[in-house]
């Protein structure tokens, strides 16, 4: 029985506490409950665009990363039908871009790929869109491969909210949306992004990659080879680690690299 004096929500029958100002996602993560998400990262303002974190609150579909938790909410999260909807949304993200996992440096560290596995996605299901998007390799240390961009705007927000800059934005409309760089030429080399900016490391897919650090961690020992995407402290693991999990017991510090922020 729920205690009327205590602020709680119920997720899949489990009563969990929340604090004023928390979203459903915040409360769930704090209670160690995983709600699939791609465009959300604790510490950055919520976005609500990928829609993977869609849940049913008292029967109504809402994005858990943006919906404030309110006492009395009964939330369906880890259900077969919701995971089926999330799988379809993941497939949509795959087919609208050009995602070739076997040849992507991010494979094994890619959250999109990990969610695909987590949801039991076996194929893209829909016909590929095969969009034509530009690669920006102008920067000495970073490469921007728009083929893999999923429009989550984590880099946009990280740049504004953490780095105090304004390096990225999304331009265009509909499926013609694309990541653009806020520099006089529109090229990354002319922006003020630096290698230790959070925006350079936050990409959940392989759209923003660090040059000169490819394949340092062998496939089979990467983030999602060792962790499940459903570990609720994973955002902390990925963001705060100064060296790769694989090297935790080794003494050698990694210099920067894909995993260090």
């Amino acid at each position: 029985m729920s205690d009327p004096m205590k602020k709680t929500i119920i997720i899949d029958g489990v009563e969990i506490p929340f604090e004023e100002g928390q979203t459903i996602m915040d409360a769930a993560l704090a209670a160690d409950i995983y709600i699939p998400h791609l465009c959300h990262k604790p510490g950055l303002s919520p976005h609500g665009s990928c829609k993977l974190c869609t849940v049913d609150v008292n029967g109504r579909a809402v994005s858990s990363c943006t919906m404030p938790a309110e006492a009395g909410q009964e939330i369906a999260n880890n259900t077969a039908s919701l995971n089926e909807a999330r799988k379809t949304i993941t497939q949509m993200l795959f087919i609208e871009g050009n995602h070739l996992c076997p040849s992507c440096e991010k494979t094994g560290d890619c959250t999109l790929q990990a969610i695909g596995y987590h949801l039991g996605m076996l194929d893209g299901h829909f016909p590929q869109f095969y969009p034509r998007r530009e690669v920006d390799a102008s920067h000495g240390s970073l490469v921007l491969d728009r083929d893999r961009c999923i429009m989550c705007e984590l880099c946009v927000r990280a740049s504004r909210e953490c780095d105090g800059k304004d390096v990225f934005a999304i331009s265009g409309r509909g499926t013609k949306r694309q990541l653009v760089v806020n520099s006089p030429t529109g090229r990354l080399v002319d922006s003020d992004i630096e290698l230790d900016d959070m925006a350079a490391h936050i990409c959940p897919v392989g759209a923003i990659l660090i040059k000169d650090h490819g394949y340092e961690v062998p496939i089979g020992r990467r983030t999602f080879d060792l962790h499940s995407v459903s570990e609720t402290d994973l955002d902390e693991v990925i963001l705060k680690k100064t060296k790769h999990h694989d090297q935790e017991h080794e003494t050698a510090e990694k210099e920067g690299g894909v995993y260090g922020v």
């Binding site: 919520p46 665009s49 829609k51 949304i89 993200l93 016909p127 409309r173 509909g174 806020n182 529109g186």
Partner: protein, 574 residues
């Protein structure tokens, strides 16, 4: 506050586009520097709105409406052939470019287009021929026959709102000395609900905004009527602008706002000068500006003109657009009543709602609530178009039946009616006894009639393409889903669909409806879903009766190769 700020990003881009026919990389940098905006913001806005172009358009830039009521793509093709240009390709001498655009709100005027941003209506084969001559001889649009640019009101039936034109200031005088609570009670007692279609109580919206803690508030009028088949606000803006501005001022008085905005859709730019004149006259008459009617209340109104984005009819996207950004709907909650324009509490109301509000405070709530039904008070302006003898504006008390409207409009052999535009409902004859009301068939005002001669599947295809074109792309279900629905329906329409494809359409449609970020995505699958429900036989008749047909059509995919090699013989086909 300038009534039309020449420094607003949308207005700067419009002026630049008019002069240079496109927005170059260099222009984006210069405009960003001049307006002190991030370069990427200027680029994002330029690429978001359909009326701004990143590559040169012709000196004569023509956008034909592709609406089922005010579009005629055969005429567009005629002009393309006449001037020897392809759609979407600017002629090499920079003379002409021809493209399509979504409904431009001229559905009662037959085939229509925008020419260098100006509206031409009632197009015919003969006019297209003459137009071709004028373009070839490079006759400036200002010297074209003025009769082509005539836009009438076509009011067929008047009710509460249309029968009288309020004397400027009448409603303001009526509220003089009355408290905010008293005026609010009048509006609430009238039962007025938002006329945009969603039907939220206007009194409650004003109250929520007034009671939200803030040092300032805003009134915004949504005149971005982009729903295909809707043109009722055009008539109100044209002939009842004073009443509209009066309604905005009353709202400002109630909620404690000192600034209002009219967000005018770019397709209605031709009315801008007249609207600004009306505002100026009101200022001179003491009905706007400092100390309105000597009451100590300051209120002014500015106009922001859009640039071809249906999504800006969504209130939070509209607010983003006023804030010089792409029209991406915001996360809700918070709602605009607590956090709207520049984060301040904001009332966003439809044109018709504000006009009604002005009438209610003048005449009292009884005047309004005695009309209509129990849950839908007052009257509704309907924009009737399509296959009927008398297209135009019909004002009915709520509760009128579809059949009555069809009879009044002189519609015969009606196959289907699309009520509320593509985002609304598609109904067949079995539903013609239903009523126009929030509790039955709700509508923002679009009423499109299709007789039995129409290929209804093509109509559904048109609507489905419309949403694919207008999706802002913010959330995954709508961005990808509207394109999947378009591709899936195209496959069925082209005779390559199977039962499996129908199942796929149903599945994708359900997901997009339920999981999208805003109303656009939630309603985008309606034409397909209603079509499959009400007219399943139309889909069935177009299907291949086999298990499966590949998505990938090998022969069709060779078309580009055939075209490049200039071959179309049997050997070049599979």
């Amino acid at each position: 506050m300038t009534p039309y700020s020449s420094e607003h990003l949308l207005h700067v881009l419009h002026a630049h586009q008019q002069r240079f026919h496109y927005i170059s990389d260099q222009a984006i940098c210069e405009i960003a520097t001049r307006l002190h905006l991030p370069r990427a913001q200027v680029e994002a806005v330029t690429e978001f709105y359909a009326f701004f172009h990143r590559s040169p358009r012709g000196r004569f830039d023509i956008l034909f409406s592709n609406c089922t009521s005010c579009g005629n793509l055969t005429l567009m093709q005629q002009l393309c052939d006449r001037l020897n240009v392809c759609m979407d390709q600017t002629s090499s001498d920079g003379l002409i470019s021809i493209s399509q655009t979504s409904c431009i709100g001229m559905c009662d005027h037959g085939a229509s287009a925008l020419i260098n941003g100006l509206t031409v209506t009632s197009l015919s084969e003969q006019i297209i021929e003459e137009m071709g001559n004028l373009i070839e001889s490079e006759t400036p649009v200002s010297a074209w026959p003025t009769s082509w640019f005539q836009i009438g009101n076509n009011i067929r039936k008047e009710g509460l709102l249309l029968t009288e034109a309020l004397e400027p200031g009448a409603a303001l005088k009526a509220i003089a000395g009355r408290s905010s609570d008293e005026i609010l009670n009048e509006i609430t007692a009238s039962g007025l609900k938002g006329r945009g279609g969603a039907g939220f109580s206007t009194g409650l919206k004003w109250k929520l905004c007034r009671d939200a803690a803030s040092d300032s508030r805003y009134v915004v009028c949504n005149a971005d009527e982009g729903e295909p088949g809707t043109f009722k606000d055009r008539i109100l803006l044209n002939s009842h602008a004073d009443t509209l501005f009066e309604g905005m001022t009353v709202c400002g008085k109630v909620i404690g706002a000192s600034q209002g905005y009219l967000y005018l859709r770019g397709e209605y730019r031709y009315m801008l000068d007249a609207l600004l004149t009306t505002l100026q006259n009101r200022r001179e008459a003491g009905l706007l500006g400092n100390n309105v009617l000597g009451s100590g209340f300051d209120f002014d109104i500015a106009v922001v003109v859009g640039a071809g984005a249906y999504i800006c009819g969504e209130e939070s996207a509209l607010i983003e657009s006023i804030e010089e950004k792409p029209g991406i709907p915001r996360i809700r909650p918070p709602f605009p009543v607590t956090s709207g324009l520049w984060g301040k509490p904001t009332v966003v109301n439809n044109v018709e709602t504000l006009v009604a509000a002005a009438g209610i405070v003048l005449h009292g709530h009884h005047w309004f609530e005695t009309s209509g039904t129990w849950q839908s008070k007052g009257s509704k302006l309907l924009s009737v178009s399509g296959d009927c003898a008398r297209a135009g504006i019909y004002e009915y008390p709520f509760g009128v039946t579809v059949a009555q409207i069809l009879e009044d409009a002189g519609a015969e052999d009606v196959q289907a009616v699309q009520i509320g535009g593509p985002a609304g409902r598609l109904i067949g004859a079995e539903s013609f006894t239903n009523h126009i009301a929030f509790e039955d068939i709700a509508t923002g005002g679009s009423f499109m009639i299709f007789d039995t001669s129409r290929d209804l599947l093509a109509v559904i295809g048109n609507f489905t393409h419309f949403f694919d074109h207008e999706s802002c792309g913010f959330c995954t279900p709508c961005r990808v889903g509207t394109t999947l629905l378009k591709n899936g329906l195209d496959k069925v329409c082209s005779g390559h669909g199977t039962a499996h494809d129908i199942d796929e359409l149903q599945r994708t449609a359900a997901l997009v409806s339920r999981r999208s970020h805003c109303g656009l995505g939630m309603t985008a699958p309606n034409p397909i879903r209603d079509g499959l429900k009400v007219f399943p036989q139309l889909f069935e008749a177009r299907l291949l009766h086999q298990e499966m047909e590949p998505e990938f059509n090998l022969d069709a995919s060779l078309e580009e190769a055939r075209s490049l090699t200039n071959r179309d013989d049997a050997e070049a086909h599979l």
